[in-house]
C-alpha cells in the first residue's frame, strides 16, 4: 500500500466549503441492536470522506439510510441545503446520491451498456444500443474507467464490474457516490486504478463517501475521516493530513476498561494445535489464507483478533476439516488432520463452536436431544449396533439441560424455538461434553445478552483449566484481551503479530498495537516506529 501516494489537495475542501450532505441525529434500530445512535455526518462538496469503523459499527447502516434503503427512526437529512425524506433508493438517486454495494447488482447475461440503461425511462421503446455504446464509452474515457461497453457482464473481472457500477451511477447523474468497502474485492493494481478514478471524479466536483476499515487506504485516499464505533461517532470529520494511523486505530477500536475475569494462572502444556503456512481459498475462489501459522498449547486460550472477513472463518473451517487448504498443513497432537474430513477432527477431539449457530451449528427442526447427540451418536452408549438408544440419548440431553441451564420445556422441543443464548448453550454443552483436546470457538458470544456472555466466558475458562487448548476467534477485542493468554492478529489471511498477555492483564499500549495490526500494520513495523520515536 506504500505505492499509494497522496495527491489530493483539492482547494474546495477548505473549511467552509459548500455542504453536500448533512445528517443530524440519525437513529436506526434493528431488533436488539441500536445500529445508529444519534449520528451526525457532514459531507462537503468535492471531497473524499472516509467512514471508518469495525464490522457492526454502523457504517453501512448509516449509508443505507442516506441512500434511501432504510428509514431512520429519527434525525434529519439535508442534501445540498434542502431537507429530504427518501422513501426509496430511487428518490436518493434523483437527489444525486448513489450507492455501490459490496455485492454488485448487475445482470450477468447483459452487456455493460444494457446494465447501465437498466431501469431507466430512456430509451423508451427501441434500444438504440450503438448510440448508447458511444455515450458509455465517452463517459468511461472521461473518468478513466476502462471497460468495453459491448462486453457481457459475466465476462468481466470483479474490478471491471465495479467500474460498471460506478458508470451506472455517473450515467444517472450522481454527484454523491457512496462506496461500501470498494477495495475488499480488488487486486492491488485495481485499487490503484480505482483511486485514480475517484480523484478524477472529485476533480469534476463530485463527492465520495468511502466506507472502509483499512487504515492505510483511508490515509491514502481520504480528505477527511469520520470514525464510528458501536453506532456512535467517535471522531467527526478529522482532517486526514493532520491525523495519524495510531489516532485513527484508537478511535476505531476504543480504549474501554477491560472487564476483569477471574482467570487463574495456568502454565500452558504441550502444543496441541500447529497451523503451518496454511493457504486456503474462500467460497468465491479468492485467496483467503496466505501462509498463516500459529500454535495453541494445552490449557491456554489463544485469541485471534481481526476485522471480520480477513480469513477467520476459513481458518476455523480448515482446522475443523470443513475446508481444504491449498498449501501448508494443520497438525493436531502430532498428527496431520487437514484435508481429511470433518469426521477425522471429531474423532480426534476437535470441537467447534461455529460462527453461524442456526445455519451450521444446529438443525432447527430437530429436537434438543437430536441436536446434542450430533457428535456422540456414533459411539456407545448412544449407538448400539447401528441403532440409537433413545433412552440413553434422552437421559444425556436431560443431564446437559440441567448442567448447562438450557431453558426449554422438554428435550423434545425443536431447537428453532430456543433463544440465541439458549441455542448457544446447546452448542456449548454438546461441544464441551465430548471433552475436547482442542476447541475452536468462533464468535461464541455474538448477539448474546450480558448474562449469557458471562456464562460463555466462564465455560471457556473452565475448559482452559481442565487442560483443553482453545482457539478463540472473535471480533470483540475486549473479550479477546480479557480471556486470552496470547492474541494473534489476522489481516488479509496473514498473522500480523502476536501479543502476550501476562498476569497483569492487558494495557492500553497493547490495545493500540492490536488495533494497528488489525488495520494492516505488521508488528515489526510498529516496533520499528516505536524504536525510532524513542531515539
Amino acid at each position: 500500500m506504500d505505492t499509494l501516494e497522496r495527491k489530493t489537495t483539492n482547494p474546495s475542501v477548505a473549511e467552509g466549503a459548500t455542504l453536500f450532505v448533512e445528517m443530524n441525529g440519525i437513529v436506526k434500530r434493528f431488533p436488539g441492536v441500536l445500529a445508529n445512535d444519534h449520528v451526525d455526518f457532514v459531507l462537503r462538496h468535492g471531497e473524499i470522506h472516509a467512514l471508518l469503523g469495525e464490522n457492526g459499527a454502523g457504517k453501512s447502516t448509516l449509508m443505507n439510510v442516506l441512500a434511501g434503503l432504510y428509514r431512520p427512526e429519527s434525525g434529519t437529512i439535508l442534501v445540498k441545503g434542502k431537507v429530504v425524506n427518501f422513501s426509496s433508493p430511487r428518490d436518493a438517486i434523483k437527489a444525486g446520491i448513489g450507492m455501490i454495494h459490496q455485492h454488485f447488482m448487475l445482470v450477468p447475461s447483459q452487456t455493460v451498456t444494457e446494465n447501465i440503461l437498466l431501469g431507466l425511462d430512456k430509451p423508451r421503446f427501441r434500444l438504440q444500443l450503438n448510440e448508447y455504446d458511444h455515450i458509455v464509452a465517452d463517459l468511461s474515457e472521461r473518468f478513466g474507467l476502462k471497460v468495453e461497453p459491448r462486453a457481457k457482464v459475466w465476462q468481466l473481472s470483479v474490478g471491471e464490474q465495479q467500474r460498471v457500477e460506478i458508470l451506472k451511477m455517473l450515467y444517472r447523474g450522481t454527484d454523491i457516490l457512496i462506496m461500501d468497502e470498494p477495495t475488499a474485492v480488488l487486486a492491488p493494481q485495481e485499487i490503484e486504478d480505482l483511486f485514480k478514478t475517484l480523484r478524477a471524479m472529485v476533480a469534476e466536483g463530485k463527492s465520495i463517501i468511502f466506507i472502509s476499515h483499512k487504515l492505510h487506504e483511508v490515509m491514502a485516499i481520504a480528505d477527511r475521516v469520520t470514525v464510528l464505533r458501536k453506532g456512535k461517532v467517535t471522531a467527526a470529520g478529522l482532517d486526514a493530513r493532520k491525523t495519524t494511523l495510531q489516532e485513527l486505530a484508537r478511535q476505531m477500536v476504543g480504549r474501554e476498561v477491560i472487564f476483569h475475569l477471574d482467570k487463574k494462572l495456568n502454565t500452558p502444556g504441550e502444543i496441541v494445535l500447529e497451523v503451518e503456512d496454511v493457504c486456503a481459498e474462500n467460497d468465491k475462489g479468492l485467496q483467503a489464507l496466505n501462509g498463516l501459522s500459529l500454535d495453541v498449547r494445552a490449557g491456554e486460550i489463544v485469541g485471534l483478533a481481526g476485522v471480520a472477513g480477513n480469513g477467520q472463518r476459513e481458518l476455523a473451517q480448515v482446522i475443523t476439516g470443513l475446508r481444504r487448504c491449498t498449501d501448508g498443513c494443520v497438525i493436531l497432537n502430532g498428527e496431520v488432520i487437514c484435508n481429511r474430513s470433518a469426521l477425522v477432527g471429531i474423532q480426534r477431539g476437535v470441537s467447534h463452536i461455529p460462527e453461524d449457530r442456526t445455519g451450521v451449528g444446529t438443525a432447527p427442526d430437530l429436537s434438543v436431544t437430536d441436536n446434542v447427540i450430533m457428535k456422540q451418536y456414533r459411539r456407545p452408549p448412544i449407538a448400539q449396533h447401528g441403532m440409537l438408544n433413545m433412552q440413553v440419548a434422552t437421559k444425556f440431553a436431560n443431564e446437559l439441560k440441567e448442567s448447562y441451564d438450557i431453558i426449554v420445556p422438554n428435550v423434545e422441543t425443536p431447537v428453532r424455538l430456543l433463544s440465541g443464548g439458549n441455542l448457544q448453550r446447546v452448542i456449548l454443552a454438546r461441544e464441551i461434553s465430548g471433552q475436547p483436546s482442542l476447541m475452536v470457538a468462533v464468535q461464541p458470544t455474538r448477539g448474546l445478552d450480558v448474562g449469557a456472555i458471562e456464562g460463555v466466558h466462564r465455560l471457556l475458562l473452565s475448559q482452559r483449566e481442565s487442560g483443553a487448548a482453545i482457539l478463540l476467534i472473535s471480533e470483540e477485542l475486549e473479550e479477546l484481551l480479557s480471556l486470552s493468554d496470547r492474541v494473534y492478529v489476522i489481516y488479509e489471511g496473514r498473522i500480523m503479530g502476536e501479543v502476550k498477555i501476562g498476569a497483569g492483564g492487558s494495557s492500553p499500549e497493547m490495545i493500540d498495537t492490536v488495533g494497528l495490526m488489525m488495520t494492516g500494520t505488521p508488528l515489526e513495523q510498529i516496533r520499528k516506529g516505536e524504536a525510532e520515536r524513542n531515539v
Partner: protein
C-alpha cells in the same frame, strides 16, 4: 415466536382436505354430477362391504410402497419423482425371474417369492442409483433425471414385452405360473369361507412390514438420524462429520428399492404377467401425494394409502380417469398451499399501516 399447539398441523391438513373436497364438489357439479351423491357413492363403493374393502386394499398396496419410497427420499430433500420408473423396473426384475427363466416354472413358492422380491428390490435400487450418483457426483438435478428415467423404464419394459417375451404378438408376457403368485386371501377360502373372492394379497403385509421397518430406520437408527440431519440442515450435517455424498446415493437406492418392491408386489400379487398398461398407472406419482399427506411418516402413510386406494377405486365408478384424478390433484395443491400456514403466521395489515 410462539409454538402453535400440537393439533395445529393436523387441523391445517384436515382443513386443506376439506377445502379440496369442496373444490372437488364444485368441479363435480360443473361436470353435471351431484357432489353429495358422488362422495357418498365413493365411500360406499370403497368401504361398503368386505369385497370392496379388499379391492380398496389391493389398490392401496402399490401406493403404500411408492409412498414409502418417496417419503424416505423427501426426508433428505431428494426430490425423487421417479418412483414410477423404479416401480416398473421392480416389476421387470421380478418378471425376469419367471420369463428368462432364471428359475423353472415348477419352483416352490418358498423360493420363488423371495428371489423375485430380491430381484424387484435390486432393479429398483439400480434405477435409483443412477440419479443418486449423478446428483452426488455432478450435482445433476434429480427431479429432471428421475423424471426422465421413468420414460426409459417404460420403454425398456415395452421392448421386452413387444419383442422378447411377447405372448403371441400381444403387448404382454405370458401369464406367470401360479407358484410365482403372491398368496391371496381367496386361496384360503376353503378353510375360511369368508375369504372367498377377496383378492387382497401378501403385498399388503410386505407394505406394512416395510413401513414399520422404515419408521424404525428413520427414527431409531444411526443412519436414519443422519438422513434426518441432512434433510433438516445439510451444513450442520457436514459439520457433524456426515458424508452427504454417500448418503445421497444410498438414500436414492433405498427409495428405488422400496418402489421396486412395490412393482414386484403388484406384478406377482395382482397383474400376474409383465404388461406396461396396468403397471404404469401412476402409482409412483400418487405416492408423492401420499408421502406429503402423511408428512413423510411411514406409519401414517399406511392410512393415507388406503384412503387414496379408495379414491382411485371408487372414483373409477364415477369416471374412469378425469374427475377423480383432478380431485387428487386438488388435494395435493391444497396441501402444499396449507404448508404456508404451517410456516408463517398470517397477520392482516391494512393499507397505510406500517408493518
Amino acid at each position: 415466536m410462539k409454538e402453535p399447539p400440537r393439533w395445529y398441523p393436523a387441523a391445517v391438513s384436515l382443513g386443506a382436505i376439506m377445502v379440496a373436497l369442496v373444490l372437488g364438489g364444485i368441479l363435480i357439479a360443473f361436470a353435471g354430477g351431484d357432489p353429495f351423491r358422488s362422495y357418498a357413492h365413493i365411500a360406499k363403493a370403497s368401504f361398503g362391504n368386505l369385497g370392496v374393502l379388499s379391492d380398496t386394499i389391493v389398490k392401496a398396496t402399490p401406493i403404500l410402497l411408492t409412498s414409502l419410497a418417496c417419503s424416505i427420499a423427501f426426508r433428505m430433500k431428494l426430490w425423487n419423482i421417479g418412483a414410477e420408473g423404479q416401480f416398473i423396473m421392480g416389476a421387470f426384475g421380478a418378471g425376469a425371474i419367471v420369463l428368462t427363466p432364471i428359475l423353472p416354472a415348477d419352483t416352490s413358492p418358498w423360493i420363488f417369492i423371495p428371489v423375485m422380491m430380491l430381484a424387484g428390490i435390486l432393479m429398483g435400487a439400480i434405477w435409483g442409483f443412477f440419479p443418486g450418483f449423478l446428483k452426488a457426483r455432478f450435482n445433476v438435478n434429480e427431479i429432471i433425471s428421475t423424471l426422465m428415467m421413468n420414460y426409459i423404464a417404460i420403454s425398456w419394459v415395452n421392448f421386452f414385452i413387444f419383442a422378447v417375451w411377447t405372448e403371441g404378438g400381444f403387448q404382454m408376457s405370458p401369464k406367470f405360473p401360479e407358484n410365482a403368485w403372491l398368496p391371496r386371501l381367496l386361496d384360503y377360502a376353503k378353510t375360511i369361507p369368508i375369504f372367498s373372492g377377496l383378492t387382497t394379497h401378501l403385498g399388503l403385509l410386505i407394505g406394512i412390514v416395510a413401513a414399520i421397518v422404515l419408521w424404525i430406520v428413520i427414527y431409531r437408527s444411526r443412519w436414519g438420524y443422519e438422513i434426518r440431519l441432512i434433510g433438516d440442515n445439510p451444513r450442520a450435517a457436514q459439520y457433524a462429520g456426515i458424508n452427504i455424498t454417500r448418503n445421497t446415493v444410498l438414500v436414492m437406492m433405498l427409495s428405488g428399492a422400496l418402489a421396486g418392491l412395490g412393482g414386484m408386489s403388484e406384478i406377482t400379487g395382482m397383474v400376474h404377467r409383465l404388461q406396461t398398461t396396468p403397471l404404469a398407472a401412476g402409482y409412483g406419482f400418487t405416492g408423492i401425494i401420499v408421502a406429503w399427506l402423511a408428512k413423510l411418516n411411514p406409519l401414517v402413510a399406511i392410512l393415507v394409502s388406503i384412503l387414496f386406494g379408495a379414491l382411485l377405486l371408487a372414483g373409477r365408478e364415477i369416471q374412469p380417469s378425469g374427475v377423480p384424478k383432478m380431485i387428487q390433484g386438488i388435494i395435493l395443491v391444497c396441501l402444499i398451499a396449507s404448508d404456508f400456514l404451517m410456516r408463517y403466521r398470517v397477520r392482516i395489515v391494512r393499507a397505510g399501516e406500517e408493518a
